[in-house]
Amino acid sequence: MRSLYAIYRKEMGHYFVSPIAYVVVSLFLLLSGFFFRLHLNDAIEQSLQAEMQGMRFGMQQPFDAPTWILRAFLGLLALVILFFLPMLTMGVYAEERKRGTIELLMTSPIREIHIVLGKFFASLTLFGAMLLPTAGYVFYVFLHSDPAPPLRIVFAGYLGVLLFGGSLLALGSFLSSLTENQIIAAALTFGAFLLLWAIDFGSRGTGSITGQVVQYLSVINHFDDFTRGIIDTSGVVYYVSFIVLFIFLTVRSVDSMRWRRA
């Protein structure tokens, strides 16, 4: 446990001493802020439209702008992190291999699983730190809405983003352990993210068994429930098993470096 913490501490130091954390977090906030603003505009337009339609055709379903904004914003976060998380994970193992520091780690009395978990929790912490300031936007929505949107959307939504992001981090770390080239790691990760995100595009609504399987595999599908304020067990199980699977694979991959010819 102590060695796990040592790795965690080292990784956090690496993120925050080097400019990585600052560049990634600030760009992420800039983009998410920009999109939040666009969604606000959208919401205003839509509520105006809803009002006009209501006047023309009599009473209609009222437009719930706060909930709409929150859901759109959470969906947007999930999209933006697809582009940002590969930058956090591309170096985690590739860099250690390139610098030869992996040899130090692997000849120290420390288990591979501690190395992998320490690194995973560090990247997850940075991801959390990245998300934290976006709570400001949510707070802003709450401040200006009456009645306030249900809190469970916020909690379930952020849990969803965290699980979704955690899955991407686990996958990205695994891909980083396969190569000593950071660019290759980043390209693999980005490609894999997009593929998992878009895997069910062709099978939506087909209803066949294969279609259902493919839909279950899509990382983003399970995310939708969370943005509705529903914590669905199948979604949680999906993400947690996804993370566990890739942590396991990373441990195997790190262990296999001993057998490969370096």
Binding site: A6, H14, G100, T101, L104, S108, I110
Partner: protein, 319 residues
Amino acid sequence: MIEVQNLTKAYGPVTAVDHVSFTVNKGEILGFLGPNGAGKTTTMRILTGFMPATSGTARIAGFDVFQDSMEVRRHIGYLPETPPLYPDMTVEAYLDFVLRIKNVPAEKRRDRITDALEKTNLTDKRTQLIKRLSRGYKQRVGLAQALVHDPGVIILDEPTVGLDPKQIIEVRHLIKNLAGNHTIILSTHILPEVSMTCDRVVIINKGKIAAVDTPQNLTAQLKGGQKIHIDVQAPEKPLRELLAQIPGASRAEVSTARADGHVTATVEASPGKDIRSQIAAKIVERGWPLYELHGISLSLEDIFLELTTDEEAHAQPAN
């Protein structure tokens, strides 16, 4: 302290280490000598538990490097060929991290760091970022990393590579001081390093051990075929004839006369014979002024070349 038996490592069809056996006693410095690609790094990586052997066993402090890898790793300090450094850390933070992953308790860390910094002469660099250090200092940080947790066995892969001559002397001095308390294996392809620092030498070539002995014994082994250097003022041809007549001289090379009439010659004696006095007597008999006559003992360098020549273009495993 270290027992290696029939250690073999094959990378597919290429055998990098081939049935290597040797032992190192407690407090001894063992030099691992061989040309690049001889299997030095591979052997060291097996000893440190970084990679498993294909067959054979290696034990450090009584623990098998494969079965009790964790125990072994607690007992060793290891400096790989490229020092495993994190450029974004300060020297001090780096050593602290190393101590943490070596499971050294918090209360001992401060002292261990101070001690390691002193031994490697890095005290004034302790708060510097590693990436700002020069090559020589980085190498020293790597060395500090290998000994900071006070391990019983220290394994150093080419510890003096990339250092300037003054630093090399410092590092050799440091290594010599570490012996006694620590058992040390170091690899090198620089010969004087071995004769200066090591108690015993393992010469390894193409994965096989070519010789194991003390540097002195290895040198003595080949002293039989001694060479004698002569500087004499004499005509060339008669000198050649004279040297050829001496019993026990197997071969003589005579240079052409210089402008001042000096001629230098190298005579090779057959093993076990000392012909220096005979040569001197014969030359003086002729009345030629003799300026210089001394035996050239074969250096480790010659032994090394003798044991490891016939280098083919055959691809050797990269180290």
